[in-house]
Symmetry: C2
């Protein structure tokens, strides 16, 4: 197992925020960073549940920690928060740093299959490698109790990872998520590059495997057992631009016979896509997950 | 009066955060920015109290808004928060952008008297011009009820502005403030440049007029009427480096016959100088000021 290197540590909310790095097998050996908030109650003999936060385009492992406003509520409930980076760094792919919505800062939490992007395997990093690395490091985390939330691209990540791995995560929530990325501009650009170009009107199955609306429509999770909370601001420019499509998620929930309690999609009047929106509802999301993580 | 220009607006904590700019007379005509958080309850007919937040070295009007974590509590108590920039910008002083602790981002909330820095008049901006501009703009603020808080250089600013203007502010609080800047490196560097060089062992009166410990020691505020709260982390590197000197403030309080209730100086175990520290205690500071602003 790779060794975690501690890069920085700050006391916050009576607990400790530590930035770790390690060479990631999933990312072809590239070093990746994550932040871990550990509440003061955590110990090897009394491990705490884990909330995974996935940030959006252009962000990194620091964004949620600095601007999200969820650490005090996590501390109150004795939850750890793991905040990974949003993409590999330094993969040396041509054009990697040119676009804000492709390459660096835009890993989309998927496994790239296109040879050019072969180190872009954030899905494996988050779902397989990171939990193993955390377990091995014996930091006081109970990795059998995990939930996931995120923002925008990270909201897509949270919903998609949860729907594909309902045994790994107890619940998922998202701020302003891209709910239907196989049909919307950011997702199409990323999937075209990372997976395979699609010129047909209906996307290939390889794309659909990363589309939360499609995954929810076909979900085989037992009746009553889906736990999803989504908040979207009505003043969000990306909602207006057709990047988010929360209605597609609502339609999928209906198609799959889910109740409104299982899949809560809330429109928040006047809020936009920024961390000001996230910080306003951060506590509610942490409380939501605490229900399932502490049950 | 100069006209306020609205540059950006975000909904947050059920209220609105707006970035304004205006050409400042105090700053020799330079355009300056500030952020205003207005709770949803504010209106011309029902104006709300104002909490002024002063950020530290290298920061600007956005830092507290994005990382401070105090807007939700301000909203809860119906308080506006005004967050000015930390210095003039673009004054075109030679060397202005070279040091992180002098010039841009380092206005120290004083009036420079050295000719070279003549546009560095943040004291006048904050104490005189900004309140006038806010009043004129009729934004729903009750400027007869103001308190002030800040961080580091801005903590120095908050304490100093309050002690010099007890009729303008109901209370002051600070995270990791430079309590004795006429005796400590940041302050001495700034005062040497902005005011006048001092080679003697005892600083000139022009320096002492901006030193909170000195101001408190000589304060003529009525008995029982000083309202100061200070938090400093014991893990703060700048505390260890002798930049903060909270003991000097405590000594001054004693010398001036103040009770520990009037001047509360708290050491917080293990916290450092970062916004992680501020965000942990932000709510307590806002609650503290709410006591006096809503009385």
């Amino acid at each position: 197992m790779p060794k975690l290197e501690s890069k920085q540590s700050n006391k916050v909310a009576s607990g400790t925020l530590t930035k770790y790095s390690f060479p990631s097998t999933s990312l072809g050996g590239l070093t990746t960073n994550f932040n871990l908030f550990l509440p003061s109650s955590a110990s090897s003999s009394s491990p705490v549940p884990v909330l995974l936060y996935l940030a959006g385009l252009t962000c990194n492992e620091d964004t949620g920690a600095q601007k999200g406003g969820f650490l005090l509520t996590a501390a109150k409930h004795g939850l750890a928060v793991v905040m990974p980076d949003t993409s590999p760094r330094g993969a040396e792919v041509e054009g990697e740093d040119e676009d804000w919505d492709l390459g660096s800062g835009a890993g989309f939490y998927i496994n790239a299959t296109a040879d050019k992007w072969k180190k872009y395997r954030m899905y494996d990093l988050i779902v397989e490698e990171l939990p193993k690395v955390l377990k091995e490091a014996d930091l006081g985390l109970d990795l059998t109790r995990m939930s996931v939330f995120g923002h925008s691209m990270g909201g897509h990540g949270a919903l998609m990872l949860y729907l594909r791995n309902p045994n790994l995560f107890k619940s998922a929530s998202a701020f302003s998520p891209a709910c239907n990325p196989s049909q919307t501009p950011w997702g199409k650009k990323a999937f075209n590059a990372y997976i395979q170009p699609c010129t047909r009107s209906s996307p290939p199955s390889e794309w659909l495997a990363y589309d939360s609306s499609r995954l929810l429509a076909r979900s085989e999770i037992a009746k009553g057992d889906v736990h999803i909370l989504v908040d979207v601001g009505t003043g969000d420019q990306f909602l207006k631009d057709g990047q988010l499509e929360p209605d597609a998620l609502k339609e999928a929930a209906k198609e799959n016979g889910r109740t409104q309690e299982e899949v809560q999609v809330r429109l928040q009047d006047g809020y936009d896509h920024s961390y000001y929106f996230i910080s306003t509802f951060a506590s509610e999301h942490v409380e939501y997950h605490a229900n399932f993580l502490k049950a």
